[in-house]
């Protein structure tokens, strides 16, 4: 029963976030490329554009933007749903039925968010690079193979692993904060709004704090 619900939550958190994460990722890649081009061109380093954009996206922009989007979309949804279940006695009804609501509602959502965030980040990174490819081709003519080889040339294993590792913690933070806010909600419909709001605010803030810590920890090893 818990496994089935976990799969369902992975679908809601992961699959349902694909359009938003994809569109945002594409625009970020495109905009970053268009904005960076003039500066690099003034130094005669335009050919470094794919490499610079890919490193920026994979190391920082992809994980953080995906985390923030999920904090908004997933965090508010979990916070509001659980809070609404709390104030309408649905969680009590589950408890009376002998079903552990904590395992069924909280554990499944936290695990789903933890697993789905890294996967969404990989997807977002890929779409961002595609957006960047279109950005490069707005005022140039670069084949996809050449763009990809230039973009990947500067990417190291040490860029990818830490950035994906921190997204695991982003997912954990979003799941834990939004579930806590929703599960402990009180004071009727006001409480539902409050839970959704604080889920987003606290999870977003935590994402930046985790990101800062992750950069510090990574810099110790690299």
């Amino acid at each position: 029963m818990i496994y089935t619900n976990w799969v369902r939550q992975c679908y809601f958190i992961g699959y349902n976030s694909l359009p938003l994460v994809g569109i945002t990722g594409f625009i970020m890649g495109l905009v970053l490329t268009i904005q960076s081009r003039p500066t690099l061109a003034s130094f005669g380093a335009e050919s470094w554009l794919p490499a610079m954009v890919s490193v920026s996206i994979v190391r920082e922009i992809g994980p953080v933007i995906t985390g923030i989007i999920c904090a908004g979309k997933v965090g508010s949804s979990i916070g509001a749903e659980l809070a609404s279940m709390r104030v309408t006695e649905q969680i009590d009804a589950m408890e009376v039925s002998g079903i552990n609501p904590f395992n069924y509602l909280v554990v499944t959502r936290v695990l789903a968010a933890t697993v789905m965030l890294p996967l969404l980040t990989i997807y977002s990174d890929c779409i961002s690079l595609l957006g960047s490819f279109f950005g490069v081709n707005i005022s140039g003519d670069v084949s996809f193979q050449l763009y990809l080889s230039q973009a990947m040339a500067e990417l190291q294993f040490s860029d990818i692993v830490p950035s994906l590792t921190k997204t695991v913690f982003f997912g954990l933070a979003i799941g834990l904060i939004s579930c806590y806010q929703g599960y402990t909600a009180a004071k009727g419909t006001v409480g539902v709004g409050k839970s959704a709001n604080s889920s987003v605010v606290i999870a977003s803030l935590l994402i930046f704090i985790i990101d800062m810590l992750a950069v510090q920890v990574t810099s110790l090893f690299i």
């Binding site: 006695e89 649905q90 009804a93 408890e95 039925s97 002998g98």
Partner: protein, 249 residues
């Protein structure tokens, strides 16, 4: 955790000197009563008199400050989670709001309590159809709770309560928010459930028509204390202002 302290062999629920407070506010003070097997006990009281808190304390949803609650000789306030769940297998709870799972369809709502049991899906569906018929709801299995009327939601809540074939049913304001005709239908349904399934029930209400239809015995709560106890007819003849106020309605 098991105790054989019941004063009568037929006593299945025994509440002794129950006290409950929220912060400085005393909600329940020294509540004691017993319920025998197959009995419908109606607990009557004004809004805010602690009726819903009492029923939630009995089932273990809220911790108590002092006293003792026994269901089938299990001390609920000292039981661990697995012991509580064992007792809860025998209990059905109809919440005031229905507490239907919004994200699940009517059929999924009904089979949800059966998921913890090793029952084949086909048997779960058969059981769901059976209880839907018993509460007079058919052809709504695929609907979502939000598409149902107030009366239908109560009936569905009742069906979900019945699907586990409980020995005890706790009703929290079963007729609140319903029109008199639907209220009467729900009250009649509660009576027929008692006769058909031989259940023992606690009915929290301030609806006198519902109390009249369903009560074998009544208990009036006032400011967190038991004011009086007796049959509907006995209470209707009492010369007490609070009790008389209910019968004037």
């Amino acid at each position: 955790m098991d105790e054989s302290t019941s004063s009568s062999n037929n006593t299945v629920i025994d509440v002794k000197h129950l006290c409950k407070s929220f912060g400085d506010k005393q909600i329940l003070q020294d509540i004691s009563f017993q319920i025998t097997k197959g009995e419908n006990l109606v607990i009557l009281g004004k809004s805010g008199s602690g009726k819903s808190v009492l029923i939630k304390c009995i089932i273990g949803l809220l911790p108590i400050d002092s006293g003792k609650i026994l269901i089938n000789n299990t001390v609920m306030n000292e039981a661990n989670l697995s012991q509580l769940n064992e007792v809860r297998k025998a209990v059905g709870f109809l919440f005031q709001s229905g507490a239907l799972y919004d994200s699940l369809s009517v059929m999924e709502n009904l089979v949800f309590p059966l998921r913890r049991k090793a029952i084949l899906k086909r048997d779960q569906l058969l059981a769901a159809e059976e209880v839907l018929k018993s509460v007079g709801l058919i052809d709504i299995a695929d609907k979502m709770p939000s598409e149902l009327s107030g009366g239908m939601r109560k009936r569905l809540g009742l069906a979900r309560t019945l699907i586990t074939k409980p020995q005890f049913i706790f009703y929290d304001e079963p007729t609140t928010g319903l029109d008199p005709i639907t209220s009467n239908e729900i009250s009649e349904l509660m009576n027929s459930i008692q006769q058909q399934f031989k259940t023992t029930s606690i009915i929290i209400t301030h609806d006198m028509a519902c109390a009249h239809t369903t009560a074998n015995r009544m208990l009036v709560l006032d400011e967190g204390k038991v004011l009086v106890e007796g049959s509907f007819d006995e209470l209707s003849q009492l010369d007490n202002e609070t009790v008389k106020a209910f019968f004037k309605i």
